[in-house]
């Protein structure tokens, strides 16, 4: 018995050493992520539960109830919802049109390539583009004026609806890029099977197509929601970064320079609120993707 035990021990020692060396291979990655992402984020989350004297307190969280903060969260949530639904609907229809809608193949490739560019065309230059289009002196504004329609002052690019129109510009291509492959994953046999049973186009979409695609559509819209909720540069350029009655990201950005005047814990709590909302979005997205993966090949 004795020699056998010895061999076993020595083998497990070797394995243990190999184990620790193996882990060393991914250490640089985890150290980097820890230093530049995990540690700062966790410390912000932790600090939002501490008061000025570093005692445990819910004071910062309760401060989120201040009217201007609540209205800012409501504004951001509404903006994200409107642009996720609007961009999702338009992008979804466009994705349908270029995949199984029967348009020529080159159009599909052109739209997909363009979407790759347009989904990355955001922030400051996108704001410039819309100022040149729908601003007071914008090309479309001027053109409408020449045919007798005055957009201003009823409409403003710097208002809620103006901002929504700009955000939808980067939401549509994202929806196209994700839903395009999903539409292509729909199998021809499903439709043929439905038709052989006497289903009309309406029946097919109502009882087969839509139920299969629904998790994917909803999931992508949730992603668009988070995408708009985290946006900062576009809104900053259009609204000038004032701290009142504005999107949450601008409120947080304004907190960086102003920790001397205001309550530093408030910024932490604002950031915590955003992380929670984004976390819920990504969690929901992952869950819905898993549901849709059962059906779609892509």
């Amino acid at each position: 018995m004795a020699p056998l035990t010895r061999t076993e021990t020595s083998r497990s020692v070797i394995e243990r050493r190999a184990f620790s060396w193996t882990w060393l291979g991914v250490a640089p990655f985890f150290l980097f992520v820890a230093a530049f992402l995990i540690w700062p984020t966790l410390s912000i989350i932790a600090q939002s539960f501490l008061d000025q004297e570093r005692r445990l307190s819910l004071q910062n969280i309760l401060e989120l109830g201040r009217p201007f903060i609540v209205s800012s969260y409501v504004y951001s949530l509404q903006l994200s919802a409107v642009t996720a639904i609007g961009g999702g609907a338009l992008g979804g229809l466009l994705a349908y049109a270029i995949t199984i809608g029967g348009l020529p193949r080159p159009l599909r490739d052109a739209v997909l390539s363009f979407s790759g560019v347009a989904s990355n065309f955001a922030g400051v230059p996108l704001a410039f583009a819309f100022i040149a289009t729908l601003g007071q002196l914008g090309v479309v504004t001027q053109w409408l004026r020449s045919v007798g329609i005055n957009l201003y002052p009823a409409f403003s690019l710097y208002s809620f609806w103006g901002l929504s129109i700009v955000y939808i510009y980067f939401q549509i291509p994202l929806m196209v890029l994700i839903m395009g492959p999903a539409f292509e994953g729909m199998r021809r046999e499903w439709r043929e099977a439905a038709e052989s049973l006497g289903a009309t186009s309406w029946h097919y979409w109502r009882y087969v197509g839509l139920p299969i695609l629904l998790p994917s559509i909803l999931g992508t819209m949730v992603l668009l929601f988070g995408n708009a909720f985290g946006a900062h540069a576009t809104a900053f350029q259009l609204t000038g970064g004032g701290s009142q009655g504005n999107v949450v990201t601008i409120l947080i950005g304004a907190q960086i320079s102003s920790d001397a005047l205001a309550n530093p814990g408030l910024g932490n709590a604002l950031a915590l609120g955003m992380i929670v909302i984004m976390g819920v979005c990504i969690g929901l997205y992952t869950w819905l993707q898993r549901l849709s993966a059962r059906w779609l090949r892509s």
Partner: protein
């Protein structure tokens, strides 16, 4: 027939939404000289020393970001596939975290956490924070690109072959793995390039003289030059994405960077 009609209808609606602002911006950018169309706005922008400086600054930042990201991601993705396959979901999770933590929250956390350290008290320190955040933002694209690239080659055989010829880990990575994932790496690099060149939030909040903040400041003093910049910026994004698609990763969905 009806289906065809609606397809064309939605295609035209989408194309209008996409193209009208681009056309308007281009049109607007040509009107710097009253009464005629000219490229004067472009000339003004390109001759502005602050344009050249901020562009050069962002270019250096982008190259540093890509280099560091590649040096961290390639060995990690290689090692995870070779030895720690169980760790893949964990690494994937960490590379996807930048989607949960928006850029503005990331820069806020970094500025708060490292306040009153050399990282925030010196110019070099702030640049380190800037590059560090960009590397984090590049991880989702770089990791996915490299991971896919590694899957298409047989890293187990390549590693064993190299080892049997007496190569150490450094040699294997530098002379076997890197050259083999070079193309995949490039596709991650181009998307990172596009993101860093246009990024505003992190650069502005860390008070860095980058291209994004320069564009933002220009808008307060000029009328036509910003649209010329928007066109230049669009062309730059287009070039980066075209290079990426040309490399052959095709239309794999790109979830875009910070806005």
């Amino acid at each position: 027939m009806l289906k065809r009609f609606w397809s064309w209808f939605w295609f035209i609606v989408g194309a209008t939404y996409f193209l009208v602002p681009l056309y308007a911006t281009f049109d607007f950018s040509l009107r710097a000289r009253r009464g005629d169309l000219s490229f004067a706005a472009y000339a003004n922008v390109l001759n502005d020393i602050r344009f050249v400086e901020s562009f050069w600054f962002s270019l250096q930042t982008a190259l540093a970001t890509i280099a560091i990201s590649a040096l961290v991601i390639v060995p990690t993705a290689y090692w995870v596939q070779l030895r720690l396959p169980r760790l893949r979901p964990v690494v994937e999770f960490f590379t996807l975290l930048p989607f949960v933590v928006p850029a503005v929250v990331l820069v806020f956390s970094l500025a708060r956490t490292y306040s009153r350290t050399p990282l925030t008290d010196s110019r070099e320190g702030l640049w380190v924070l800037l590059v560090g955040s960009y590397v984090i933002l590049s991880f989702p694209y770089m990791y996915r690109a490299v991971d896919t690239g590694l899957r298409s080659i047989n890293i187990h055989d390549l590693t064993e072959a190299a080892q049997s010829l007496g190569a150490g880990w450094f040699t294997i990575l530098a002379r076997v793995i890197f050259p083999n994932v070079y193309v995949a790496l490039l596709s991650g690099a181009f998307i990172t390039f596009a993101i860093v060149m246009g990024e505003f939030t992190i650069a502005a909040l860390l008070a860095q003289p980058a291209f994004g903040p320069y564009m933002n400041r220009l808008a307060s003093s000029r009328v036509y030059e910003p649209s010329a910049l928007a066109i230049i910026s669009f062309a730059l994004t287009w070039a980066a994405i075209a290079a990426l698609q040309w490399i052959g990763q095709g239309s794999q969905a790109r979830v875009a960077g910070p806005r």
